[in-house]
């Protein structure tokens, strides 16, 4: 009985991996269709590339869960903040006085290691006034263009949104303690 249950557990694991691999094949194939504008001949090159891309992605990026609703909600948030960030930096560049007061801050991460942290680090660089410099063990070092503004609360908001996207629940309390529990 116990042998049977352990085997079905293994089957489940294999099934999950196959499902994710299939999902990624479809996603990469979709990208190929977009990039080649639906050309049929291009599949001679496209099919092997989609397969290789899927294999590489399965090795490099371990399976993660992602909420569709929160991913869709992320898009307007991202576009609006990108616009703000672009306008802000353009204004600083055009202003004769260059009104910036840059500095480095350490942001204690509550997200677990993995894809969600990488996603957060990349997004930080595109949002207003922040640039991710170093992704440490449980801190994200962020370069801030204007330290007079309250960047920390904006980073906290972003972290919450990213956590929802990847179906992660952030524990409340001190960031440091929390991260040590996760690691």
């Amino acid at each position: 009985m116990s042998r049977l249950s352990s085997k079905s557990w293994l089957n489940d694991l294999m099934n999950i991996h196959f499902r994710i691999a299939w999902f990624r094949v479809v996603a990469f194939a979709f990208m190929w269709v977009m990039l080649t504008e639906g050309s049929v001949n291009s599949w001679l090159v496209g099919a092997p590339i989609v397969l290789v891309a899927t294999l590489i992605s399965m090795v490099l990026v371990s399976p993660f869960s992602c909420s569709v609703i929160h991913s869709v909600r992320f898009v307007p948030f991202f576009i609006w903040n990108s616009l703000r960030g672009g306008a802000n930096v353009a204004w600083c560049a055009l202003n004769p006085k260059i009104p910036i007061a840059p500095g480095l801050i350490d942001f204690p991460l509550r997200l677990p290691p993995g894809i969600s942290r990488v996603f957060m680090a990349n997004t930080v660089s595109l949002l207003p006034g922040t640039l991710s410099v170093n992704l440490g063990k449980n801190h994200l070092k962020v370069h801030v263009l204007d330290t007079r503004k309250n960047v920390l609360s904006e980073l906290m908001t972003l972290e919450k949104i990213v956590a929802k996207m990847f179906n992660i629940s952030l524990h409340d309390g001190k960031g440091d303690e929390c991260n040590e529990n996760i690691l």
Partner: protein, 99 residues
């Protein structure tokens, strides 16, 4: 049709202005970190505007998808590259400029 052309031109010109501002920031800002700010953010918005300006003129949905995909890939590449440059600069001990 002309309305679409007008909208497209406005978006393309605004995009160009953002690229110009980003380049100006690259030249005027004091250190490597602030210059990366100017490049990543202004160019992201600039390219987004250019993509939007071309997308409203596109003949089919596949081309809109292709343009959006290009935008997404360029954003991913620029965010990753700027992170790597900033990290290397910090590792080499380049201190951020302070007012």
């Amino acid at each position: 049709m002309t309305l679409i052309n007008v909208l497209s031109s406005i978006l393309l010109f605004t995009g160009g202005a953002f690229f110009l501002a980003g380049t100006l920031g690259l030249l005027r800002f004091p250190d490597v970190y602030t210059r990366l700010h100017a490049l990543t953010k202004a160019d992201n918005v600039g390219l987004g505007m250019v993509v939007a300006g071309l997308a409203v003129q596109a003949q089919s949905w596949v081309i809109v998808g292709k343009l959006l995909l290009i935008w997404a890939f360029v954003m991913l590449a620029s965010a990753t590259t700027s992170h790597l440059i900033a990290r290397r600069a910090l590792q080499r001990g380049i201190k951020p400029w302070k007012r």
